[in-house]
């Protein structure tokens, strides 16, 4: 059969200002989607708009600003039900018979609760604290905390004498300290490039926080960052061995992901290069399939067994985290996870990103992280087990404002993925699954990977952590708080604007002015 004529039209229009164009062909070289071409005979540049994904790489790198990438103003016939996106999806499926794939997080206009929450500040009755002059503490300990301190006075037992040292006598549970409540989320080598993973780990180390390997194994060269690395154990078990587990600061069992709850992963064989195959411990060129469920976890008691198997494997020296997607009944599930022995519960919300997911899943499954977080924190407190696990949340955090509100809703720390990508070039073109990322972030083609200089990318990432941490300190100081633990779950510092009563109840916050 001859190729089918497509009924779609270009989403973007490439406009080139010929007065400015110097024929340098940077656009031709930079575009990985074959949009630009140069005809030497005519000394002219051409663009195939149909191929453009709107990643803006050419626009950013054009030395004379001759390029403008414009969203195609052509609309489908006005229809409140059938928007252009719906038409295009149907047309693409009619032409291919396949599932429509996409990358990054849900881009639909679900209510973003962060934008409906406002923070408090000190006025008169207590002083705001200036972080430029006063200490401001962001250090956070992740892991299961003992119920209480058991200790004795040195020499005299549990007496009341003063001055003699007090010695805690219980064994502390394994904990991991991070210097800011921000970590890099799980993004696997294969789904992201070698250089991207390198930059993430380097920045995490420089700032005293954590980067997560994702489920694609951990290249041996990056073990030098092991003090700042979380390893993931997902349903495909790629790259998992005893050394992998024991080199990490903590181990995360990935049950679900916010972008695609209930769905596994599929790294196509083309992306399984020699290096990827070694890291994942699978044959070169073979598809890497992560099943939808873990085939050894069909229930909560199975999860408990896996948690303890991993604890055995790491001699009870490392916290074990369990990551789930935010779904209905998330608070009951989280409670079960804590009771199954997890030391950290990770919840990934509706807007969490991905390298590849069926679009229909990404856009329709799961619940917003704000509601999930508030409910889980509240539930664990009601059950008196909040201290038994740290709560880490993920899913579309755009600014330090979102992060600090999450802390006030009860999060111990926040995973950032999309924001980290944006910091190193990503423009959310959502084409990660094609392996063509022009920014070198998610592609594994050697000529594109090298575009992302790990030194420069690590610097940008470290800057982002620093900038957000500074902003968090400013906001904390404004509230008269000098340690992040005093904001954790402290909903009195939040008020809602423009929410329904049920939403405020779910979040556990009052309306503004009350």
């Amino acid at each position: 059969m001859s190729p089918m004529k497509t009924h779609t039209w270009p989403e973007f229009i490439v406009e080139r200002n010929d007065d400015r164009c110097i024929r340098c062909q940077v656009c031709v070289n930079q575009c990985t989607f074959d949009v630009h071409s140069y005809d030497a005979g005519l000394d002219e540049l051409f663009a195939v708009d149909m191929n453009c994904v709107g990643c803006q790489r050419c626009q950013v790198f054009c030395p004379t600003n001759a390029l403008t990438i414009r969203t195609n103003p052509t609309q489908s016939r006005p229809n409140a039900n059938w928007r252009l996106e719906n038409l295009f999806d149907v047309k693409k499926q009619a032409e291919s018979g396949g599932i429509v794939l996409t990358g990054m997080g849900n881009d639909k206009p679900f209510r973003i609760y962060w934008d409906h929450l406002v923070l408090n500040a000190s006025q008169v009755t207590n002083p705001s604290i200036d972080p430029l002059r006063e200490p401001m503490e962001l250090r956070t300990y992740l892991g299961r905390k003992p119920d209480r301190v058991v200790f004795q006075r040195d020499g005299e037992g549990q007496g009341e004498g003063h001055g003699s040292p007090v010695v805690p006598i219980q064994n502390m549970t394994p904990l991991v300290a991070i210097e800011t409540p921000l970590m890099f989320s799980a993004m696997s080598y294969g789904a992201i490039s070698y250089n991207t993973q390198h930059a993430l780990m380097r920045a995490a180390q420089a700032f005293g926080t954590m980067a997560n390997t994702g489920e694609g194994g951990w290249p041996r060269e990056f073990r030098q960052y092991k003090e700042n690395v979380i390893v993931q154990v997902a349903s495909g078990r790629f790259g998992v061995d005893l050394e992998y587990l024991n080199d990490a600061r903590f181990v995360e069992i990935k049950v679900g992901q916010g972008a695609k709850p209930g769905i596994g992963g599929h790294l196509p064989g083309e992306k399984v290069t020699l290096d990827v195959s070694r890291t994942r411990m699978i044959p070169e060129g073979s598809d890497a399939i992560s099943p939808a469920p873990h085939h050894d976890i069909y229930s909560i008691e199975d999860l408990g067994m896996l948690i303890h198997a991993l604890k055995e494997a790491t001699r009870y020296e490392k916290p074990v985290a369990v990551k789930i997607a935010a779904v209905h009944n998330v608070s009951a599930i989280a409670s079960g996870i804590v009771r199954a022995g997890a030391d950290i519960v990770v919840i990934d919300g509706l807007r969490g990103g991905t390298g590849a997911a069926p679009k229909v899943i990404r856009d329709n499954v799961g619940i917003p992280i704000e509601l999930a977080l508030a409910q889980v924190d509240q539930r664990l407190r009601k059950e008196g087990i909040r201290h038994q696990a740290s709560l880490v949340v993920a899913g579309g955090f755009r600014s330090s404002g979102d992060v600090i509100k999450a802390i006030a809703l009860g999060a111990d720390a926040v995973y950032i993925g999309t924001a980290a990508f944006v910091a190193i070039g990503c423009t959310l073109c959502q084409k990660c699954y094609t392996g063509k990322c022009a920014w070198g972030i998610t592609s594994n083609r050697p000529e594109v990977v090298k575009r992302l200089n790990p030194d420069h990318a690590a610097e940008r990432l470290e800057n982002l952590l620093r900038a957000w941490s500074r902003e968090i300190k400013e906001m904390l100081g404004g509230m008269g708080i000098n340690s992040v633990e005093s904001l954790r779950g402290n909903r009195l510092h939040l008020r809602a604007v423009g929410l329904e009563q049920w939403e405020m109840d779910a979040l556990g916050v009052k309306g503004a002015g009350l």
């Binding site: 200490p135 007090v166 407190r381 402290n490 009195l492």
Partner: protein, 380 residues
């Protein structure tokens, strides 16, 4: 049900704001001071309060009844008193009651009925509870269930005197110059939004523990969450309530020594912990990791007292004033230096305690044996 929350917090605010002046004095050897001392000191700090509440806690004032629980009570009407006395008769075997002596004072109006009782628990009814826990339950019942009745304090050989008014007027109203105590703590209130209520003045007390507090705790929500997880329900919406419960959880239920309790509420900074020798580093890391939610953030200075011990503590970056001074066997604590110099011009030493460094004063053993022959209550 007697809705204390409503009385205390008529507008349903998240929490009540307070600013204040505090003064305390204690002799290590059990030497006593007349109530005139704290009255004059509080008068000197008149402007730190706004006349909406003042009070005193006095330790060692009932040397004749060191074995009996002294209930200082207010009743808004006679039936509350009758109902309370009926209730007390059920649970206590020995019981003496009298009106708390007062004098008319132009600064104090609308006084409730003020009574004190000296009570010994009926041992047949303890049901395995300690006497102290038994008494705490009775106090909770009276405060929550008997309309118009409120227990100011319920410890042995001590008492709380408080009222709506300027603190020096409150002292003179209660004729405190007639009392001799080895330890006094005093407080003047400047509430920003509470309507005046006698029970809402400081000191706040359970058993023989009293708290006077100046500050605003910005970590209130986090502190309350943690305490609720441990079964404390914060109905008064005040910082002082949270501090009291935190001390009860840490000191009584978890058995932390009082200096460690202070280190939970005002812990060293991480950057200082990082530089400590290993043993200390482990200790403070453990305390902060486990009890981080009880860190009292924001400005405060507090004076805690119980039988034979007084503890003054300021927040760790010293956002509220706290001055300490020493003269012979006596230690003075106040929001300002002036009132201390007023009542004791010749001091051996005056200092400003470091943020988070508690000043702990204890009765020596001989004095303790006289004032509190049964030793400290179960509340350690």
């Amino acid at each position: 049900m007697y809705d204390l929350g409503k009385k205390q917090n008529p507008y349903g605010d998240d929490k009540l704001h307070d600013a204040c002046g505090i003064f305390a004095v204690m002799s290590r050897s059990g030497r006593t001071f007349s109530g005139e001392i704290p009255i004059r000191a509080m008068e000197n700090m008149h402007d730190r309060g706004n006349g909406l509440g003042g009070g005193y806690a006095a330790y060692g004032i009932y040397p004749g009844w060191p074995h009996l629980y002294a209930f200082h009570m207010m009743f808004e009407h006679k039936s509350a008193k009758a109902e309370t006395e009926k209730y007390l008769h059920q649970f206590f075997s020995s019981m003496d009651g009298e009106e708390i002596p007062t004098r008319p004072h132009p600064g104090i109006s609308s006084a409730p009925i003020l009574y004190r009782y000296f009570l010994g628990p009926n041992h047949h009814l303890l049901n395995g509870l300690s006497e102290d826990d038994f008494v705490v339950q009775r106090v909770m019942h009276i405060n929550q269930k008997i309309d118009g009745a409120f227990v100011f304090s319920s410890g042995k050989n001590m008492g709380v005197f408080k009222a709506v008014g300027h603190t020096e007027d409150v002292g003179r109203f209660y004729r405190l110059e007639d009392y001799e105590a080895y330890c006094w703590t005093a407080h003047s209130r400047f509430p920003t939004n509470t309507q005046a209520w006698w029970g809402g003045a400081h000191p706040f007390s359970t058993l023989d523990w009293t708290v006077v507090h100046n500050g605003e705790i910005s970590s209130y929500g986090s502190n309350r969450n943690f305490l609720e997880m441990h079964g404390y329900y914060c109905t008064m919406h005040t910082d002082t309530e949270v501090i009291t419960y935190a001390v009860d959880l840490l000191a009584r239920r978890h058995g932390l020594p009082i200096d460690m309790v202070c280190k939970v509420m005002a812990p060293p900074l991480w950057r200082d912990i990082d530089r400590m020798p290993k043993a200390e580093k482990d200790l403070y890391t453990t305390l902060r990791v486990i009890y981080g939610p009880l860190l009292m953030n924001g400005p405060f200075s507090i004076v805690l007292a119980h039988q034979g011990e007084m503890i003054a503590l300021g927040d760790r970056i010293r956002l509220r004033p706290l001055v300490a001074a020493e003269k012979d066997d006596a230690v003075y604590i106040a929001s300002e230096e002036a009132p201390i110099r007023l009542v004791e011009p010749k001091l051996d030493r005056v200092w400003i305690p470091k943020g988070g460094e508690p000043v702990i004063v204890r009765l020596d053993d001989a004095a303790m044996a006289i004032a509190h022959p049964e030793g400290r209550s179960a509340v350690k």
